[in-house]
Point group: C2
Chain length 275, copies 2
């Protein structure tokens, strides 16, 4: 089986490394519109070969590891594929992508969201174990062809992922709270702190807490611009709920209601029981 | 030299482990008003011995590793100390503590804030290397006695810390942005997400991002209630600035100003140059 990867950054590059280690893949070929990415991907052995757009479309399975607006555009151009071809999109939003798959290739596509990543990006950020023991959410799987479902399932299992299925609309609502909102908060925190504090004091006072809370603010703006765009209404709703909690916190502090504040923090501590 | 530690949780317990490993400390004694903490501290060998309140006051150096309101109360009761005794408070706020040191023992006290910690608490959370290679901020050092300054400086160096000096008022303003605000945000995020999402979906979709952003929400409510209380006005100001950035983010998304949003995220990326 030949696997093609479109987009050789953190997610695509790491997928190349993962696929190269499993037996049913004979060859991993890659495509990236950025020539520097192609060079780096070869240098780090993320793929066996860089191929042309025409050649990548000949792969048995094609992973789309590009920003989510790009995924929709690429799918629109995939009208001359073999009926057996499996396309797996790795986008962080799912509803808009699934809605926009051209009907004639709907059975070719498996919509996937691997719950993994780092704040780093580009081919040099690729990690061989990025996907291992992580969860991948497969959306609206009944709309994919049987061959494609089986192919995707066995590949994700082979690289060590745990598979969960979910409706695309539901996925996007949950992802807004659990992934996209934290990114919006982290970007806001980084900008607020850098506007008020100089680099020296940030370096002195940033213990683990601030480092963790601001790590996501280092993420790729191009990637996140498109995620925020595609999941706009869910994200705005999640921001509403977060702002309500922040207002509650502010009111407890302003009112000097320290017992209330402690109880509110004890509620947050219940996260211990989940994560 | 005998070191006494008041409060045998994460900070005090880890200080016990660190002090036991350096040559100029002959004995580390501990005090905690919670008998379970005393038992655990002995079990984990955090201190050599648990002693009475009268005995802890005989130590050559006394570390106060208790919540910040407790530090003020304990200092008020320290009126019968030897003039040579060094008291080092490890509180996360500094202005209120320094203001409230009784004048007759002002020279005894060194106000310190070690920039380290984890979200865990209690004696079992203690780590031998919690302080190693971390920064400790010493505040208003010129108000401490010469002997006490030298004692504190040499002890922090001996346990591997990097020493920075700062005015207490300045410290609290910076800490509000870089440490206290991130905690308020993390508690708010945890409560917002748990109100909207069930445990199953949080577990499925929480990749590294949400785990990092919600980690601080597991911190001790008793400790943070008192920090928020003591640093209230600085924290409220920091929350204002954060809310402005979040509003900016929301407006860019609402207006569909994707170029503006990307540039705003690129600004946040500049954190890369600092941390």
């Amino acid at each position: 089986m030949v696997a093609g990867i479109v987009g050789l950054g953190l997610m695509g590059g790491s997928m190349g490394l993962a696929l190269k280690s499993i037996p049913h893949i004979n060859r991993v070929v890659g495509y990236d519109h950025n020539p520097t990415h192609c060079d780096e991907a070869l240098k780090h052995h993320l793929v066996d070969e860089i191929v042309s757009w025409e050649q990548i479309k000949q792969s048995d399975v094609i992973f789309l590891a590009i920003p989510v607006e790009g995924i929709i555009k690429v799918l629109e151009g995939f009208t001359d594929l073999s009926p057996e071809c499996t396309i797996i999109d790795l986008g962080s939003t799912k509803e808009k992508i699934v809605e926009n798959i051209p009907p004639q290739i709907r059975h070719n596509v498996v919509a996937a969201h691997p719950m993994t990543g780092t704040e780093k990006f580009g081919p040099s950020a690729a990690l061989p174990d990025l996907y291992r023991d992580k969860i991948v959410v497969l959306c609206n799987l009944d709309e994919s062809g049987e061959h494609q479902r089986k192919t995707a399932w066995s590949l994700f299992e082979a690289i060590g992922m745990k598979i969960v299925t979910m409706d695309a609309k539901e996925h996007d609502r949950h992802a807004a709270y659990i992934s996209h909102l934290p990114h919006a908060i982290s970007y806001s925190l980084a900008n607020a702190v850098m506007a008020q504090e100089d680099a020296k004091n940030i370096l002195i006072l940033a213990a683990g807490g601030f480092r963790d809370m601001s790590r996501l603010a280092k993420s790729s703006p191009i990637m996140w611009e498109e995620i925020f765009k595609q999941n706009r209404s869910n994200l705005l709703e999640a921001m509403d709920h977060f702002e309500e909690e922040l207002k509650r916190c502010r009111k407890l502090i302003t009112d000097g209601d320290w017992d209330g504040l402690r109880r509110w923090m004890e509620d947050a501590n219940k996260l211990h029981d989940i994560l």
